[in-house]
């Protein structure tokens, strides 16, 4: 009775973002995932492993053969890619950050985004709606600063689990740039986390990119060298 009445009471936008961050952010995590890119003609599957801690992350691509051994390192606001075929490490900056990651609907800029929403956005609850049979708060977020990829975001947040089930990402001009749908929500200890996220870049043809979490662990020990440039080669 008490739990139901708390869930039904409308929390503030800030409280919702804090609850989302408790679910989605962690001191560190390890993710083994599959990215299924549904292009206009074919679909491709890319497998990778990622170790992340705070604003640093290291990803190694495992498949397909063409991408195997490609490594990506993010240290705060810097991003490097190591290409084994060329034995070159390239630092990405400027417009290269807006390029698609492996042809997916995700850009490198998306990967650079700090997962901590509460520190970057102001939020207001604008309504409620049902998504996938779950009651959701509709939360509109506006960036506190200019240095974020999306100035406006609209979230449909599960009222009970405080996990977004749907999101729309907008440019400063108000143009809708991307849509995401989060599903297969699973419980990992005290947190809820999606097992499948579908990204759709609204400016691209194709049917979007599925991001499937095969394995995930939170608050894991990450060797120090993995989050340094030494890990790239």
């Amino acid at each position: 009775m008490l739990i139901t009445s708390i869930a039904a009471a409308q929390p503030s936008g800030k409280e919702i973002l804090d609850r989302i961050d408790q679910n989605m952010s962690a001191e560190s995590r390890y993710v083994k995932s599959k990215m299924i890119i549904h292009g206009p003609r074919t679909s491709r599957t890319i497998e990778s492993e990622t170790w992340a801690a705070g604003e640093s992350a290291f990803t190694e691509y495992l498949a397909p053969a063409r991408e195997r051994g490609t490594k990506m390192l993010k240290l705060e606001d810097q991003l490097w890619i190591f290409s084994p075929a060329t034995d070159r490490t390239i630092q990405l900056s400027g417009h290269l950050l807006r390029q698609s990651v492996m042809g997916s609907d995700l850009s490198y800029e998306d990967m650079m985004e700090d997962p901590d929403l509460a520190s970057k956005y102001d939020a207001v609850v604008t309504g409620s709606e049902t998504v996938d049979d779950r009651e959701c708060w509709i939360v509109e977020m506006h960036a506190k600063t200019e240095d974020v990829a999306y100035q406006k975001r609209k979230l449909w947040v599960d009222r009970q689990r405080f996990i977004p089930l749907k999101e729309e990402l907008y440019a400063k001009s108000g143009q809708l740039l991307k849509k995401t749908e989060l599903s297969d929500i699973q419980q990992h200890g005290s947190r809820w986390y999606p097992g499948r996220i579908v990204y759709k870049d609204m400016l691209k043809t194709g049917s979007g990119t599925e991001f499937i979490v095969d394995e995930i662990s939170f608050d894991v020990e990450i060797p120090e060298y993995l989050l340094s440039k030494a890990a790239l080669r």
Partner: protein, 423 residues
């Protein structure tokens, strides 16, 4: 009678010399302007055909719609089968596969870190097959400034200006950062085999040429190509033939419901080439029209002056009973001789000056910031039209001028003639 008119013209030079000089100058200018405009614009068309459009080009329907972006994600796939069909069905045509690509060219230092980088745009062509004529078609051998043509898939030629900006020499390694046809980032090492001067500012700023097999691997375009270009065996573009050829191909191969089905476009339909081709015809029309109008006015004026000078002669001829119509016709016959003489001399002068200008004028210095695909040397071209294009307007303008000036004869009153003669 004709001999009579000719004698009159030769003996009274004031009746022939000035009009012949005027017609000669006019016809010379028409022939020269026509040869110059034709030469410059046709050179642009030929240059674009060789580098960009072919005489016809096959692309996927979506690629064609977005062709200004050269979108390799919309490239044709299964092109080895399509090429085989084209070669067997249209064996007289020359078919070549090309991939346009763009990206960042990154130059590493001794530690593999970025030393310098710059944006470039390139063209992948068949440089390695024995039967390929692309090296000759793109005039690559003669345009080399340093080094040599690529001999392996992962060698590249950079424009000499671009190589200078990146501070690379033949033998150095550069990394091309681009996008695969699936949109993924592509990072591929190439060895600079040589540097080249394209002769057009747009390409000289950041142009590259590499073998298509290397670029296919770099951009993950196995059995795919952005464009298939077709060239007529004569080497000359024929718009009517190209249009019927494209219509037949599209009827057979293209499916409007399938955005990735192949579609053939003629040179005219690509890269604003229709504008250039129309411009050639418009220019010729404009030059001839202006010439006829201006020359007619000048010769009308000169005929009026001649009429004034020959006022007494006309009066006398009418007084002794010559009909006005006969005098009028005799003036027109005289003008035909003048027009013929001026047009022949003018055409000869025009052809002579055009042949001098066919060697070309170097304007590359004025095109440093140009983004047009234009050659740096502009040349006149003598076409069959140059032999008659000035001739007929020269003749028409002279006769028209005389027709207008001669109308004055009909205004003379016979009753006044003897009074005029007495005066």
């Amino acid at each position: 009678m004709l001999r009579f008119y000719l004698k009159g013209l030769f003996r009274d030079r004031s009746r022939s010399l000035l009009p012949i000089i005027v017609v000669t100058i006019g016809v010379t200018l028409v022939v020269l302007a026509n040869s110059w405009v034709t030469g410059v614009l046709e050179d642009m068309v030929v240059f674009n055909a060789r580098f960009a459009t072919g005489h016809v080009k096959i692309m996927s329907r979506s690629y064609f719609e977005n062709r200004s972006q050269q979108p390799n994600d919309l490239a044709l796939i299964g092109t080895s089968a399509l090429m085989a069909s084209l070669k067997s069905e249209y064996p007289e045509m020359q078919w070549v596969e090309r991939i346009q690509f763009g990206g960042l060219v990154d130059v590493p230092d001794e530690n593999g870190e970025t030393r310098t980088q710059g944006p470039g745009g390139g063209m992948a062509v068949d440089l390695l097959s024995d039967e390929s004529r692309e090296i000759e078609r793109l005039n690559l051998e003669k345009s080399l400034v340093k080094g040599r043509i690529p001999q392996t898939p992962f060698e590249i030629i950079l424009s000499d200006q671009f190589a200078g900006k990146l501070e690379v020499e033949p033998g150095d390694t550069v990394t091309l950062i681009s996008s695969t046809m699936y949109g993924a980032m592509s990072i591929t090492n190439f060895t600079v085999s040589g540097t080249i001067k394209f002769g057009t500012a747009a390409l000289d700023r950041g142009g590259m040429v590499a073998d298509i097999s290397g670029i296919r691997q770099a951009l993950d375009m196995t059995d795919a190509t952005g464009e298939i270009l077709g060239y007529f065996p004569s080497g000359e573009y024929d718009d009517v033939e190209a249009a019927s050829f494209a219509a037949a191909f599209n009827e057979k191969y293209s499916n409007p419901q399938d955005e990735f089905s192949p579609v053939m476009a003629t040179l005219r339909e690509q890269s604003n080439m229709s504008g250039f081709l129309d411009l050639i015809d418009y220019f010729k029309g404009i030059i001839v029209t202006i010439f006829v109008v201006v020359m007619s006015i000048v010769l009308w004026n000169s005929g009026l002056l001649g009429g004034l000078r020959r006022y007494g002669e006309m009066g006398l001829r009418m007084a002794i009973g010559e009909e006005k119509g006969h005098i009028y016709r005799s003036l027109i016959i005289e003008s035909v001789f003048i027009g013929l003489a001026g047009s022949v001399i003018g055409t000869l002068f025009g052809l002579f000056f055009s042949s001098l200008m066919a060697r070309g004028i170097d304007i590359s210095g004025m095109m440093q910031n140009s983004t047009m695909m234009m050659q740096g040397v502009m040349k006149a071209k003598i076409t069959p039209a140059a032999y008659y294009l000035g001739f007929f307007p020269g003749l028409i303008a002279t006769v028209l001028g005389t027709v207008l000036a001669g109308i004055g004869i009909y205004k003379r009153q016979t009753a006044q003639l003897f009074k005029e003669l007495q005066a």
